[in-house]
Symmetry: C2
Subunit: 163 residues, 2 copies
């Protein structure tokens, strides 16, 4: 099963390396990882998407909790949550194909954020299935480059993961 | 100066920990980091935003280039590029404030992605300044939680960072 783990950490040198090391040391590969500031500039929030054995994951989460600089660890996959990702895709857009690429982008509520002589760069946000569907539609035109933020998650309702 | 570094890496255990370790070992703090898949499932793309001494950063990039599993390292801050981030914000939304929060969200072209009895969760994408402006407007209502993907970047025009 795929898990989305939210981790609040103190914004210190080396925390990220230690956390990434904990997962890789246990043989977990990280599908995606995002880390950014919170309202408190001393605290960052990470979202880590991993696949692997549930029992081992539980052990990893316990170890994470014991790490200095780690404030909270929550497996949001076990709760109702919202998950979103942002993706930039640079696609070959010849004169002939431009109208079709524009209409695909519109349907997926994407935005063209850059236009080159032979390319469009598209911004799209959504869940994995939506992004996969768009990418599959763009592949025939020729994808030159792709940059994904990885998934960020938040529990539904009023509950929050706090310091 | 703030730098946005794009790194193509082989999707192997431990690469992320080694890269994060290289930056923290040199005293760089990572403002944001995102890593996600590319079209090639064996290759991931990271975007790392760091602040620090330019001369030391150049050394770190040289060391990154020498790391096994690292395919390409590019400092996109030195080129024309598009940079975007996605942020989820859970804000306290009392009956009295809901209309105002909705109108702020509309102005920033954000989306309400979850509604609780006393909260809205807003999705917004854009550059740092836009996101900072929205967050500042939401602070007075009470921000309960924030999850940022960190910045992803792509060079403008037809050039691309390839394997």
């Amino acid at each position: 099963m795929r898990h989305s783990i939210s981790v609040l950490v103190e914004n210190q040198f080396g925390v990220l390396a230690r956390i990434a090391g904990l997962f890789s040391g246990r043989g977990f590969n990280i599908d995606s990882l995002s880390v950014g500031e919170t309202i408190d500039p001393d605290v960052s929030r990470m979202t880590i998407v991993v696949r692997g054995d549930d029992r081992i994951l539980e052990q990893v989460m316990k170890q994470l909790n014991k790490l200095i600089n780690v404030i909270r660890v929550v497996d949001l996959s076990k709760e109702e949550h919202v998950g979103r990702e942002l993706v930039l895709v640079k696609v070959v857009a010849n004169q002939r194909d431009r109208a079709e690429i524009l209409s695909i982008t519109d349907i997926f509520r994407g935005k063209i954020v850059d236009v080159g002589p032979e390319t469009y760069t598209i911004e799209i946000t959504g869940d994995e299935n939506k992004i996969k569907a768009l990418i599959n539609l763009l592949v025939p035109f020729g994808i030159k480059e792709i940059a994904r933020t990885g998934r960020v998650c938040m529990g539904r309702g009023s509950k929050s993961i706090k310091v």
